[in-house]
Amino acid sequence: MRPETKAALLLASAALAAGCYVKVEDQSVAVTKASICPGGACPPLTSTGGALVIQVDLDLGGADFLQPSTDVGPVTLNNSLNLNQASLAMVTAGTSFAGITLLELVQVPTPTPPGTECAPAGSRVLASYDKATNPAADPRVLTMAGSGTNLLDLTAGTSLIVLRLCAQGGAPPSTSWNADLTLDMALSGKATYP
């Protein structure tokens, strides 16, 4: 068999056997919830130490590519939005997170269980900060390493994710404060056909 014929047959076989696909990727999707405590009044931590739980409702909105699946012409993209890291940035002047030793970002199931427990049954830790192992260079910004969770698996058919920030340690912050919570994620979607 001629080499050209072999090459043509090989290419034809590959075309038949290959699964065609379409893939969408965005390595940085940053979603920021500004001023996580309405009215600028997140409670302070006492100097003797303690725990703090703040609930943050995060609504990802209705953009097509932030849904678990997206129709693109004849194909359906199955999307994922994996959490790389989350950061809590102080916006109140004159204070910081220097006293916080542990900080976790937890997703709680909906409907939200009653009470102020940080991680009720069915909840999942999405990201965490440990001052002992990885102290923040800037005490006004705490960066929590993400576990790579696909947040689109947590929306349960809606665009809403209920989160809780669980902090342990002491002051500061010793006065009322507020902060922005930013989730840095990677978007990917893939469809194979036929």
Binding site: E4, A7, A8, L11, L60
Partner: protein, 216 residues
């Protein structure tokens, strides 16, 4: 029809023949089993042997769009092309090579092409507005295709062809435009978003049909 049969018989029967230019028909008794040789297609192993070597091509397909190319054939088995492309959404450039196992009236081919569309305005074909329209107005893409095909005609003058295969294509979506789309669909005014440039890649079917004319 007779020409088609004459051309197809050696293509099917010639599987065991060594590579290289097909031999000229030596005698009338073997004409039925030999490829029909085009007048002017001289036996010559070097580049730019006697015959036509430069021409123009016009084709249409996906994802290449409509292409107008100039052709050069330094050897009988290799043809290169480069030119401009248009796909209703914008303009681009294209180029590629085609390998031919012989110079017959009907000839199988193997082609590799690449192209880049500088901009693609798909918003004009949709009813979207606002941020989504901005996103669709600026989607430059690149593609690399491998196709097999059949060429029919005179290898020295005019050829019609049909090709099919696979294409790997990638599109870059502007991060600011993506950010606008997400921001426009948010329900909570306390939320801000920022997206980096996004990439859309795909392995998709490719096809093209067209013709080419050798001028000199």
């Amino acid at each position: 029809m007779r020409l088609l049969v004459l051309a197809l018989v050696p293509m099917l029967a010639g599987a065991a023949e060594p590579a290289g230019p097909p031999p000229a028909p030596p005698a009338a008794t073997t004409a039925a089993a030999a490829p029909e040789k085009e007048p002017g297609a001289e036996e010559h192993s070097g580049p730019f042997s006697p015959g036509t070597h430069f021409g123009l091509g016009l084709d249409v397909g996906a994802p290449g769009g409509i292409g107008l190319t100039v052709l050069v054939r330094p050897w009988w088995w290799l043809r290169a092309n480069v030119g401009v492309a248009y796909n209703l959404g914008g303009w681009g450039i294209r180029g590629g090579i085609t390998l031919l196992p012989g110079q017959w009236v009907v000839t199988p081919t193997l082609s590799i092409d690449a192209g880049y569309y500088f901009t693609d305005d798909w918003a004009q074909f949709t009813s979207t507005s606002g941020a989504e329209a901005n996103l669709l107005r600026d989607l430059p893409y690149t593609f690399l295709s491998g196709q097999i095909g059949l060429e029919i005609g005179s290898p020295q003058r005019f050829i019609f062809y049909l090709r099919g295969g696979l294409s790997y294509a990638w599109v870059t979506a502007n991060g600011a435009d993506l950010t606008g789309v997400v921001q426009e669909n948010l329900n909570d005014p306390a939320i801000r978003v920022a997206l980096a440039n996004g990439n859309v890649t795909g392995l998709v079917p490719a096809f093209s049909l067209g013709f080419l004319v050798y001028i000199f």
